[in-house]
Symmetry: C2
């Protein structure tokens, strides 16, 4: 059938869409979510049918095309195109197979992931895949295949080195900016650690948000390769490079229901590691109230799963279970955390000791994986070599700041003080994160919370426990309002 193009003047950024008037759709027996092949001259593309009920949106005899389809066809408004029914991609059959509870083969999973990456599946089809993976679970074989497929369908950082180290924290702990200390310690010790990190989705700061206070984090893969070859390490934003791009598309359909199946969690984390060719990976699993993992039992189960899947991928995985019952470090929010990190690296007396201790522990575990002495970690830190290495990495990535004194938190602040004297029995990660986010973190880099006290510390009546920082009075006001509902701190 021949139809006249209507330029809809929008882009989807995802799957191609063609809108038909309902009269034409009925005439040609086309339904919502059917595929059609649209042809103009020698150019053609496949789009998913959407149906317009009004002539205003798409008149009879016309087909509404979005930016991406127009580009693919080099078509403009009022051009004539030819439309034919097209079969659904084969991956839809495999998704149905998974929904029916059958195990998928590696080629079937690769086909699904390829179609997700190439925007060939609709949101509904991808949702069925994620939902089936969640309700039916992924087998060990399927999880390994999914991880490999996610790596293969993206770019890969190739380095002529072995071993290549990486680390990952399961998360949920406020502060806890260990990567920015561990990477320079290991790089200074001669280990290769090309670290890509994420930005925050629900926390007050991701490593990429915090590192961005000190240096550029959005770098092309070629530049990352050069930096790692020169300095042994980097701390960049994974989102700026096309590593395991399926992950973001999967997260997009997981987010509306905040679901995260174990198989997808494992695949998502390990695909990012595989994409930078990591061979040795340390997984930090913090446990405790407010952390993502609540119990030791859960942590041990996850540890075993990581090790199994890692083995299937030919990756050495070591897992540490750490205390995630309260924030780590004093600062929460990009600027405040960046300051903590620099103070630790500079061996400043005002550096948070809990953060220093945890970073040393993680670095030691990785040195053991490399067959080296644990002692090297504190040697690198105490000698200032780790700090020098951090400065080198910051300069290589594009320096923004290397002096803690120049890092200024938001100008509006509010002190939270103890209502009575006593011992702090609880500092809740979820509450602290929420207050810091409402104060503006991570978008407002200077927003967040600075903790003067940790769990088990004693406070006098009226003594400051923490300060909230914000970049404007309104956000500070919102944060203080929330604070009154959920202070997240118990004094006994």
């Amino acid at each position: 059938m021949k139809l006249v193009v209507k330029d809809m003047d929008i882009a989807t950024g995802g799957i191609l869409i063609a809108i038909l008037n309902e009269v034409d759709a009925e005439k040609f027996d086309l339904h919502h979510e059917d595929r059609i092949r649209v042809k103009k001259g020698s150019r053609e593309t496949v789009a998913v049918v959407d149906i317009a009920e009004s002539e205003k949106a798409v008149p009879i005899g016309k087909v509404g095309l979005f930016e991406e389809s127009l580009d693919a066809l080099r078509a403009v408004d009022k051009d004539i195109v030819d439309i034919k029914m097209e079969k659904k991609p084969e991956s839809v059959k495999f998704i149905k197979k998974k929904l029916e509870g059958k195990e998928l083969t590696s080629p079937e999973i690769l086909t699904i992931v390829e179609d997700i990456v190439k925007n060939k599946l609709t949101a509904i089809e991808t949702t069925y895949f994620i939902s089936a993976s969640y309700t039916k679970g992924l087998s060990e074989k399927e999880t390994i295949a999914l991880t490999k497929a996610m790596i293969e369908t993206g770019d890969v950082l190739k380095l002529e080195r072995y071993p290549i180290f990486d680390k990952h924290c399961i998360g949920g702990v406020a502060g806890n900016r260990t990567t920015m200390v561990v990477v320079p310690i290991l790089a200074a010790a001669g280990l290769t650690i090309p670290k890509t990190s994420s930005r925050s989705i629900t926390s007050p700061a991701g490593t990429a948000d915090t590192m961005e206070v000190l240096a550029d984090v959005s770098l092309p893969l070629s530049k990352i390769k050069k930096i790692v070859e020169k300095t042994n390490g980097c701390i960049v934003w994974g989102g700026a490079v096309n590593l395991a791009p399926a992950d973001d598309k999967i997260i997009k359909v997981e987010n509306p229901l905040s679901i995260d199946s174990e198989g997808n969690l494992l695949a998502s984390i390990l695909a990012k590691k595989g994409s930078v060719s990591s061979t040795h990976v340390l997984i930090d699993i913090p446990i405790g109230r407010g952390a993502k993992i609540r119990s030791k039992k859960e942590a041990l189960h996850l540890k075993r799963e990581f090790e199994k899947i890692g083995k299937g991928l030919g990756m050495k995985i070591r897992t540490v279970i750490t205390d995630g019952s309260q924030p780590i470090g004093n600062g929460i929010g990009p600027v405040l955390e960046a300051k903590d990190v620099l103070l630790v690296l500079m061996n400043s007396p005002s550096a948070p000791q809990d953060l220093r201790k945890k970073c040393l522990r993680l670095a030691e575990e990785m040195l053991v994986m490399a067959g080296k002495s644990r002692k090297i970690a504190s040697e690198m830190l105490d000698s200032g070599k780790a700090y020098e290495k951090m400065v080198e990495i910051i300069k290589a990535q594009g320096e923004k700041c290397i002096l803690p004194a120049l890092l200024k938190p938001g100008k509006c602040k509010y002190d939270f003080t103890a209502a009575k004297a006593g011992r702090i029995s609880r500092i809740d990660n979820i509450s602290i994160s929420k207050i810091a986010r409402i104060a503006g973190a991570p978008i407002d880099k200077g927003a967040g919370i600075y903790l003067y006290k940790h769990k088990d510390d004693r406070v006098a009546k009226g003594e400051k426990i923490f300060t909230i920082y914000a970049e404007n009075q309104q956000k500070l006001k919102f944060a203080v309002e929330i604070l009154k509902e959920i202070d997240g701190i118990d004094v006994k």
Copy 2:
């Protein structure tokens, strides 16, 4: 935040959508599929966020609104609106509960169905519900609650009568236009049977498509009520009235993967019956190759499920298991089937006897449910009272045709003849339906297939087995091409 309206000049027909530029979305920490409340003066509405990556689609500082949101706000291009973050509807929590394998309560199911009907859920969220219902299954209690919720969230035909009869066929059998004979038999016998039927989705004709050849089928509920009060029955298109509207929206997300969970199937069928206040329902389950249900075991399981759910709904359900191994009647396609129906009702010698027999059987079963004699069925048919009743119903609905001689199939035709002499051992429903559809049915009312032979009939070499009818040569050519791949008929 204040934004300037951009009129996107499209309508979704579903959930309200607001498109933000990615810069604004990031600034306000809004993600794809988040909800926002959009306010203009005293008017406000909730929309789902979509994110534009280009300034061309939606510039920074603007919000792209679709037709439905503009109407709700009485807003026009360049108006200023205020935008606030809005929580997800509560039903999303219940969908997640079902995904985790927990049983839902009746109020929880009602909330989900209400939100589906009111377009408050996105396609992704609805898909999670359908997917979880499919992989986790619905309990008896959940299926009853779903059926009730589907009835309650739509219009209901209320009649001051008892009992009210209804019938449903599980489908997959070509031809098989029993409703159009059973309804006039029962209505003539004094039973009340307000029948709503569907149009075809994948078959060459639904009852609504076929009845439309003889009378109007798109009638408002008030008119249907008057017709039934006057004639005891009707045969109308359910899609024209707002009965159990959740069903269509659920089907929209089931179609892309052609999934149909048992719980959804039961709820979908029985909700339509409940929406016309039916108290006595006959379910016809045809079994055999090509029918929806393949084995007696499956049919008996479904029978038990129907009876259980019916009991929970206070509905009397009787099930008959019938032969679905080949088409029933001679005509396949709206005009050809309508002709069969009229010939049966007129006791014509050329009426297909298999259709007559099956219709009598179904009518008898329903008379038994009414506590009446089985014999009344053939009395109504043989005496011409059923035909008179059909004429009365056709006139009441808006007559188009009542004489079989005036029903003309498509002018282009092709005869399929026996390649050798023998006995017909198989006539495949799926193949016959596919050929009839490709010939143009049900959109082209005269398109379809006329069968001269049925299973076990003997044919001479070169004797006609069936004729394909189409309304134009091109469609006939396509149908003949398909016929050569899949004739669907075995002669032994």
